[in-house]
Point group: C2
């Protein structure tokens, strides 16, 4: 069976109508609303073909048709046009963000919030992995007899801190000294790049009583190793409850619970999928591995800082999602992303994922 232009039009009509109404679409509706020069009977024949091709399906015999995962996929890949109206919305959003913060993590949270408000779906933002980020500065701060604070700043000005125990009191001056050495040796590196040789070198350079130094370095290395491997920030989760596809409370619950599990989310958005290139990644309905997401679609963008992809911004919604709007919003966002960050921030430049291979 060949794929005529007309079939595509009908598929698109079904999808557009279904996105709007969430009701199965009948042949007469299409004939009246979209293709007035064809009778419903003709459209019925075409729909029958489309169903055979697996692009649409029928909830029951005497109902209209709804798009299948495969149908949405075809729509997203071939039929969908970008929307400049949404681009404008993104522009407004970006202006809200500009110069608002010097810190990448708060910026990302703001983006998540605004994107959830704009799209009315749920957004999931993964923060940069500490381990993959380059350290910009690190410092020990005296706290009390038994503890000190280790403060780490990574590129993007993300600050992490951890209280570490001391075997015995250290003078502030000693700490400053150690901090200087640590900084000299470690800044610019990522956690994965730190090895034993480096640690030995630091130990020598500090010239501090080796017992203290030993425990201190252990604590620091512990902190670095166990630092959360990427935080997840979710916004607009309750938006899901407003869609009729989630009026079944059990379904809604299982999805919301899934969205609450950081490790699962991380696993999901970081999952590599050979078929998609560098741009946005769109997963539709049953294309998702995870069962809780079989009724959902997820659009994911990777953001970059410097030359590394370090995190993701995703929009989660029902399969009957306004793909055009979401894709426009995310693409617009990724385009403007580099300009968002600190007007004259030092050397680092956030660059967008280049979209080569896409028109």
């Amino acid at each position: 069976m060949d794929m005529s232009e007309r079939k595509l039009q009908i598929l698109q009509a079904i999808i557009l109508n279904y996105l709007e109404t969430a009701e199965p679409v009948g042949s007469r509706t299409i004939s009246r609303r979209f293709l007035m020069d064809l009778s419903s009977a003709t459209i019925r024949n075409e729909m029958s073909d489309l169903e055979e091709m697996g692009l649409i399906e029928q909830p029951h015999t005497s109902a209209g048709r709804i798009p299948s995962s495969k149908g949405y996929r075809l729509y997203v890949d071939q039929l969908m046009k970008r929307d400049s109206v949404d681009d404008q919305q993104v522009g407004i959003l970006m202006n809200l963000l500009k110069n608002k913060t010097l810190q990448l993590d708060s910026l990302l949270k703001e983006i998540g919030d605004l994107l959830a408000t704009l799209t009315k779906y749920t957004t999931v933002v993964t923060m940069p992995h500490l381990k993959k980020s380059a350290l910009k500065h690190l410092q020990l701060m005296p706290l009390d007899e038994h503890s000190a604070v280790l403060v780490l700043v990574t590129d993007g000005n993300i600050v992490r801190n951890h209280v570490i125990p001391l075997v015995r009191r250290l003078e502030p001056e000693t700490m400053y000294h150690i901090s200087d050495v640590l900084n000299k040796e470690l800044s610019g590196l990522s956690v994965t790049q730190m090895d034993l040789t480096l640690i030995q070198k630091i130990k020598r350079e500090c010239q501090v009583d080796s017992e203290v130094m030993e425990s201190l370095l252990n604590a620091i290395s512990d902190t670095l190793q166990h630092a959360d491997d990427g935080d997840v920030f979710t916004s607009g989760a309750t938006n899901i409850l407003s869609f009729p596809e989630f009026s079944d409370i059990a379904r809604a619950r299982s999805l919301l619970e899934f969205l609450g599990q950081k490790d699962q989310i991380l696993h999901l958005v970081n999952m590599e999928d050979k078929s998609t290139g560098p741009g946005l990644k769109i997963r539709i309905g049953t294309e998702n591995q995870i069962e809780q997401l079989h009724d959902c679609s997820i659009v994911t963008a990777n953001y970059r800082y410097g030359d590394r992809t370090i995190g993701t911004i995703s929009v989660v919604g029902p399969m009957r999602m306004d793909y055009k709007k979401v894709v426009s919003a995310l693409e617009g966002l990724m385009q403007d992303f580099p300009n968002l960050f600190a007007p004259g921030a030092d050397p680092p430049q956030i660059t967008q994922e280049d979209n080569h291979g896409k028109s």
Copy 2:
């Protein structure tokens, strides 16, 4: 109408049965399950009285009775006994927490998570207000040409940080110097205790070019003033969806959305209520001012650090909540709270809210 012992027994029976089944309780059920020496007819007469007193109500004429807010209130105030089984559970929970962290905020998050798991309800923990906490240490860290990080540590080892812009480059040594002065002058104080005289004094002592100093102090003071006035941490929000009283999706949604609004939550838990003493605060159904909470009950405990009440831990559930379990858990928690924190932490001691006036 007087309140006989028997009426109380019947009320208690209704409540216990309703907690279990979520179904209106009929006279025959009580006669069979709880008070076998009385006929259903007798119980019916008593129930009629209880209804007239406003302690129970009837969804419709031919249904059993369910407790009213007033009924639960009486139960909570007079009938409910503490439960030692739950105490044991709390004991286990406490052991899980012990020595886990040196930082009050992560400890509180853990508590929230565990309490949500234990009770199967939703927990809401408010973090200490920065403005009310005493500063333990504060420090400026160099970052790059245009910015520095201000790190604040409050009692409880809660670390906050903020990137602040610099009008021009400062040497690390200068920053250390400024930090020392700031520390000397400010540590031990809370934000509310800092005034203009103090700032002037700091300016003099630093002996740094006054333009730089001016902008720096402004930024710091900005940071302190605008520091989030208490963060809110919610755990187990989706538990709500498992209760039949929230099978209506609109109701569930409005509650979940309410729980997502930090400012509203803060307003709620900090609301002073003259009628309750120092111990736990229990708000049942319509006793809550906020409309979204009319079907819910909230049990709130204040935690203290040193001599100040600085935050709250709450459990939110349906009105048909297992008050005994929740109250036992929270009371047990507050009792052990002081022992939880850092084995040999410096001077500060977390003390519990004393329960005088309670048996």
